[in-house]
Amino acid sequence: MKTFVGIDLGSTTTKAVLLDENCGVIGRGITNSRSNYSTAARVASEEAGVDGRFTLFRRALGEAGGLDVKLDDFLGTLERAFRLEQFLEQLDDLERTCLGLVKGERFAGFESGTKEALGEIFRRLRDEAPELYAPGAKRKSDFFRDIAGSRYHGHAEEVARTAGLPYELLLNVYDKSIIDVENRPPSGALSDKFRRALGRVLDAEPALKSSVSGVLPAVERTLAVDLDETYLVGTGYGRVTLPFSKEHIRSEILCHGLGAHMMYPKTRTVLDIGGQDTKGIQVDPNGIVENFQMNDRCAAGCGRYLGYIADEMNMGLHELGPLAMKSDRPARINSTCTVFAGAELRDRLSLGEKREDILAGLHRAIILRAISIISRSGGVTNEFTFTGGVAKNEAAVRELKKLIKENYGEVTININPESIYTGALGAAEFARRAHIGQTDGREA
């Protein structure tokens, strides 16, 4: 089937979205951005492909019917098993790479010991891997580097101690390997991985075999569907060269505007507060940007501001919102500059002001800065869509709603928990429109 791929290379994460011909989102993928842009793009789009497969499974199995167990549970189990297969595959790669680096002067006298230790570490990692993907398991992150890294370090410390081996040696091979492993494009056919995952699931619960036997043909048929990447559009910013040729690039502002339009067709004003920049965008009824303003130079009014505050207050980023919500009297914070926000914070704390009031005030300050950008871009026109990490912060949202009501009246405010995919969604839609334009003989 025809699919249209949008890839958004962000500074922290790379996102991909797969659209079908009918503008339906089939799949979404996300991975951490890394030094090799092409790999990040490939991995993200593969992830989207995986997600896409599961969407197709859902559709096919939903149609086929005849599943005794709940469809969602089954697909959930299958997905976890698939993730586990992916993880194990990369673990193997990591092990091979680490072993390959045990040579040279640094390891003189420790070579066999290190190799043994590595063997032990990876045995442990493989053993505990299924736990990481058990139902309800909480992982610190979904990215291989993060999961493998923390587990590896934990085990390596222990193993090194028991074996009487210098810990640095084990660290050294890891540090040298992880970048290569991360940047190697995923190998192996996806269908094989699926089948292995399916096999794992059925082995673990033989009772399932009979329940699902009726639908296995449907699964096989779905696996056989060729997800043709008919057109791809990439976007991203802060990188002077994206790994796509010119016709396949759209500006991230346009992608963001169109993505917001895809999520909320009636949207006219879009505010995106990212980690490192803030965008105010006005879009027309077709989702095309008419006006935009950016704050891409100053941390105040960006997500970074909250990160700074969290550091100053020794709190987790996700804890800021809930604490600020407890306030009903936000302090009036005058410094919108991030550098001074910390100082003002400490000043007020020492004067006895309540933490939640100060926090609420700081949230208001960041939103005020964002509203400046929106003002400059053309104000607020119904409907208003708020995207970016800060949109998940309830205190920020509360201040935003207040300010918009006070200054622009009754406006519908849209917030989507999946707004991190907005750019990639817009890029995918550009891909679809470009393809239609081409097949109609018009320039896209």
Binding site: N295, R332, N334, F340, A343, E344, D347, I371, S375, N407
Partner: protein, 395 residues
């Protein structure tokens, strides 16, 4: 006219001045206007306009100094990038939020490019308001700059006559000059009191009393000043072991009241400054006989304050007004407080600092915005400055 307040000491006067300062809706000016159909209000921005001419038309000159630290700027930010000072954006905020809807005219003096361009913006945004860019000469010869300026004043008079619907007579102008001469004398008296015994006229108090002169009819303000001058010295005031400083750079975007307060609390009496220069821009009485516009012009050319926006033709004279201010008020040093991004204050600063260095007058410098909330670093700087002066000057 407010009733005499001598009974309660100066507290009621200060309270009234503070209320006027806090009121961003300009209720007292609105009330004044509501009392007469021929009454109109002409707003003006820093540093100086000849208020006599406005007054002579029977109008109220209204000093606009932005919105201060109590005004959140939401719409105003749509007009200015982040690297421009705050006073124009809060002034626009006042405008677009309707707080100035009773104002019939706006004067934008030639003090810098931001205010200059704001005059054109105001024309575009508020086409029904009389707007004039008020230029002053940078040439001080009577027959060159003087003639130019008299013609400028004549144009302003003519415009105000249009607004009024009838001429402004020379007698009306002379009477206004008398009244403003008196007001300026009282302002000078207040400054003299403060320079002599700063604890008797604490800086935040003196400031709001002075600032009331920008919103009140001049006659009322003179009354207020007289009453303050009569009652303030009688109050019991703690005498601090403060050093004495001249505050400069604060001629346009105003520092928050807290900043002025913080300087005193940190150990520095403000014994002279360039706050609200319009109240005493002309340093001597303007003659009340003869051609009033010519008198105002000559007063501007030969008897007016010095400031960054005014060209100093004589290299030797450059910065000497500051040295004289220090000597005259018996100050120990100078504090340069410049608004962020303020071209006049910041470009001028290095030259003034050289002159002070040569005159062996110590100084410190910092930047602020009209809505600065961070007083701690300023208190520290000012406090350290005060300590070092007391330590090293053998006081």
């Amino acid at each position: 006219m407010a009733p005499s307040l001598n009974g309660g000491g100066c507290a009621p006067i200060v309270a009234r001045a503070q209320a006027l300062f806090d009121d961003l809706s300009f209720a007292s000016a609105r009330d004044w206007k509501a009392k007469g159909l021929d009454r109109k209000v002409v707003g003006y921005m820093p540093i100086y306009v000849p208020r006599e001419i406005i007054h002579a038309a029977g109008f109220l000159p209204l000093g606009i100094l932005g919105g201060g630290d109590q005004l959140e700027v939401i719409h105003g930010d749509a007009y200015y990038q982040s690297y421009i000072c705050r006073i124009p954006r809060s002034t626009i905020e006042l405008g677009v939020s309707g707080r100035l809807d009773f104002v019939d005219g706006m004067l934008f003096p030639s003090i810098c490019d931001v205010i200059r361009n704001l005059s054109g913006m105001w024309k575009t945004m508020f086409p029904n308001v009389y707007v004039r860019y008020f230029d002053v000469p940078q040439n001080y010869r009577d027959d060159i700059g003087g003639n130019y300026y008299i013609n400028e004043l004549t144009e302003l008079r003519h415009d105000l006559e249009q607004l009024r619907g009838k001429p402004i007579t020379d007698d009306e102008l002379r009477r206004s000059i008398v009244v403003y001469n008196e007001n300026r004398r009282l302002v000078r008296e207040l400054y003299a009191l403060r320079a002599h015994s700063p604890w008797l006229a604490p800086a935040p108090e003196a400031y709001v009393v002075l600032r009331a002169g920008l919103v009140l009819p001049v006659e009322e303000h003179s009354l207020m000043l007289r009453e303050y001058l009569a009652t303030a010295p009688k109050e019991e005031r703690p005498r601090r072991d403060n050093c004495r400083i001249v505050l400069t750079g604060v001629f346009c975007e105003q520092p928050p009241l807290n900043l002025i307060r913080s300087l005193e609390l940190a150990g520095c009496y403000i014994v002279d400054d360039d706050l609200l220069l319009v109240t005493r821009w002309l340093t001597a009485d303007v003659p009340t006989e003869g051609d009033p516009l010519q008198n105002l012009a000559l007063a501007f050319l030969h008897h007016s304050e010095s400031t960054a926006a005014k060209y100093e033709p004589n290299l030797k004279e450059k910065g000497q007004h500051l040295v004289r201010a220090v000597r005259r008020s018996n100050a120990d040093g100078v504090i340069f407080a410049c608004p962020s991004f303020c071209d006049p204050a910041l470009l001028e600063r290095p030259m003034l600092q050289h002159v002070l260095k040569n005159a062996e007058i110590p100084y410190i410098a910092f930047k602020y915005a009209e809505n600065s909330g961070q007083m701690q670093p300023i208190r520290e700087q000012a406090g350290t400055f005060s300590d070092s002066i007391k330590l090293w000057s053998g006081r």
